[in-house]
């Protein structure tokens, strides 16, 4: 474990940027049609619960990161195997998000540039940042957070003043009852992006003020959920259900619609900058979690030495995981969220908490 110190504000910023990450890019929960925002809020509620689970586990072992307490709870061999699975999951997720980034740039701006080059440029920066440690990433986050919010608020005001939002697009609410919304909740939004909060269990031990971490974390998840829900509601308000679902990047289409006073238009750069920043943090945090877990399992003293080889693996994985964007999305939605995420993001953490509870029952209860 490295020596790092993360303040509460930094934790808040990291969670927010991580949750917005690629979720703000794609038509999130678009299967719920005009009730997408509701499905996102449900997902957020699930995220709050999962955060609580991770936090409770952390309270049982305040000095340890997940791979270590997995070994304690499940025994040496099973714990190591499980932790190893998580390393692969983190790396795969990092590669997926990196691919999202590359696909976004290639679809929209750099049509003739190879995917590898675009991904490599971002990955090199991420490798550099993570090799400097999580504290550096967190401090960078502080800088960019204000910038993102400035962009978001300006964008929101401009969309409002362009008169693009048609609230009627969001009606009728719950047209086919609550069931389709719940379906989207347990097949998509619970895992992406809210279940992914699991990576933060790798960061908990570094938090300076451990007592308030829970409150701040819950607040950050709540705020990111509300932000995502508002974004999706605006997308649907501006584009309508059909266009939002058919858009590869609905937020981009929404922003392209801005036309204020004949000169404030074509603000696509707003979208580009904010997604590049958010994705930088999402990949960084996943990547950091993978590197730190590997260092713990294989007892490597300097985790930063792992960043270059593992970063290269992620880079190549991001290019090879799918041959087309459609395949990439299908894989993400139909395979990963259906078979991998429920197991690793929900079931195992809850199970671990149960075991930890039983094991520690006889000892004094945690704070």
């Amino acid at each position: 474990m490295e020596k790092a110190n993360i303040s509460l504000y930094q934790l808040f910023v990291l969670i927010l940027l991580f949750e917005l990450g690629s979720a703000i890019l794609v038509p999130l929960a678009s299967d719920a049609k005009q009730d997408a925002w509701l499905a996102i809020l449900f997902g957020m509620a699930g995220g709050l619960f999962l955060f609580w689970v991770h936090y409770r586990l952390f309270l049982y072992y305040p000095e340890l990161v997940p791979p270590q307490y997995m070994q304690k709870l499940l025994g040496k061999i099973a714990g190591t195997l499980l932790a190893f699975c998580y390393i692969i999951l983190f790396m795969y997720s990092a590669a997926r998000v990196l691919r999202d980034f590359g696909e976004m740039l290639l679809t929209f701006a750099y049509l003739e540039t190879p995917l590898f080059i675009v991904n490599a440029l971002l990955m090199l920066v991420i490798i550099y940042a993570v090799s400097k440690g999580i504290e550096v990433v967190a401090r960078t986050g502080e800088l960019f957070f204000l910038f993102i919010y400035f962009l978001a608020i300006t964008g929101f005001i401009l969309i409002l003043f362009s008169g693009l939002i048609d609230v009627n697009n969001l009606k009728p609410i719950l047209e086919r009852g609550i069931l389709p919304v719940v379906r989207v909740f347990y097949t998509q939004t619970l895992y992406f992006p809210f279940g992914e909060i699991i990576v933060f269990s790798m960061i908990f031990p570094y938090i300076a003020n451990k007592k308030k971490a829970k409150k701040v974390g819950l607040f950050a998840i709540g705020l990111s959920g509300i932000n995502l829900a508002i974004t999706m509601a605006i997308n649907i308000g501006v584009l309508g259900v059909d266009l939002t679902a058919r858009s590869q990047f609905p937020l981009l289409s929404t922003i392209q619609g801005i036309q204020v006073a004949e000169f404030l238009e074509r603000l696509d750069v707003f979208f580009m900058i904010s997604t590049v920043i958010c994705i930088f943090f999402k990949v960084s945090i996943y990547f950091y979690a993978a590197v730190a877990s590997t260092a713990v399992i294989f007892k490597i003293k300097e985790p930063s030495r792992l960043t270059y080889p593992m970063g290269m693996v992620i880079l190549f994985m991001s290019v090879t995981i799918a041959s087309s964007y459609a395949e990439h999305l299908k894989e993400g939605l139909e395979f990963v969220t259906r078979y991998v995420h429920p197991f690793f993001l929900i079931l195992i953490p809850t199970l671990l908490l149960g075991i930890a509870f039983l094991k520690n029952r006889k000892k004094k209860s945690p704070q």
Binding site: L111, E112, S131, K171, G240, D242, Q256, R266
Partner: protein, 404 residues
Amino acid sequence: MNNKRILFILVFFVSTLLLSGCWSKKELTDLAIVAALGIDKNEQGRYVGTMQIINPGNVTSGMQGGGGSQGPPISIVTGSGDSIVELSRSTSRKLSRRLYYAHTNLIVISEEIAKEESISTILDPLERDAQFRSTAIIVIAQGSKASDIVKVLTAIDKIPSNKVIKTLKITEKIWGENIAVSIQDAIKMIVSPGKELAVSGFRVNGDVDKGITMENTQQTEPASLLFAGSLGIFKNGKLIQWVDGETARGSVFLLDKLNASAIGVEWEGKDEAISYELIRQKTKVSAKMEKGKPRVSIEVQAEGNIGETKVPIDLNNPHLLLKLEKEIEKEIKKEITMAIKIAQKSKSDIFGFGEALHRTNPKEWGKMASKWNDVYFPEVKTDIVVDAFIRRTGLRNNPHQVNQ
């Protein structure tokens, strides 16, 4: 130390990648900026695209140092192909530059294509392409080829596509017989089962052959002029009917796109005796089910001033103004009723009554959606309530005829 060495090697190799130049750079001098795209069909049934390309040197005005030469501000290139993408690429044989569509803000579709096939086939490549803006405006070339609308030079706005768009936007605001519809709006309306598409036509008069020369812009009355035409009603993406005049204005009223207009009102038996200058209006459409049948209520709130009187009338008298307001309400109601009748006759719900019903009665709508236009919409009963207000009468109160 080892770390630093790896980093050094990495930076060394990567910088060679970056320093060699930009990856897919396109110099400004290699781009042909397309301002408008006109789409026709030729005898063989292939698409013919006419691109209006901006001639940058000739657009700058003579006032600022006079760098601009005497040539036309635009240049036309055409291409043909079985698809839009194909015709666009095929123009490269005639052009020394790459076509650049990011500033295309006008799409002209020929009347022939609009009537024969669904225009959604043309809209697909336009919304899919990353360069194209979905805010580009669509018009139908009414009574001429799309290429004519794209080719003709205009006097006040040097770039003809700007003239077309500004004309549409301004007339939508102050006269209200036309609407400016963007690609995105059009697609939304085509997709929605509860709302059909309505797009403005654009016409060209006079001799197009003279219109494409610079002389067209160098005379007080151009030999060939572009002007907004009628309002085209679509069904399933196909143009089925043109509407004009008060019917068109009634439609724009119902679409709640109208800002201002001038409405002629009858007074004491004299037609068009008083002109009412509308300055703002708000139209609300709501639907409900009544005895198993959809019923639509329309509420219009209009505000405006008196702009002209041809008859002696005592405008100081508020009671008379109230009476006048009733007349105005009658007139607006008449226009809206005409618009609804025409739309119902052509079985195309351009006003979005279906969408209004969808919002309030989703269950019943589910059963009707597929047959809405053909079965239910023509039978819809409407209740129209117009509330008109006369706020002011201009700089004078009574017309001078009164005090004679």
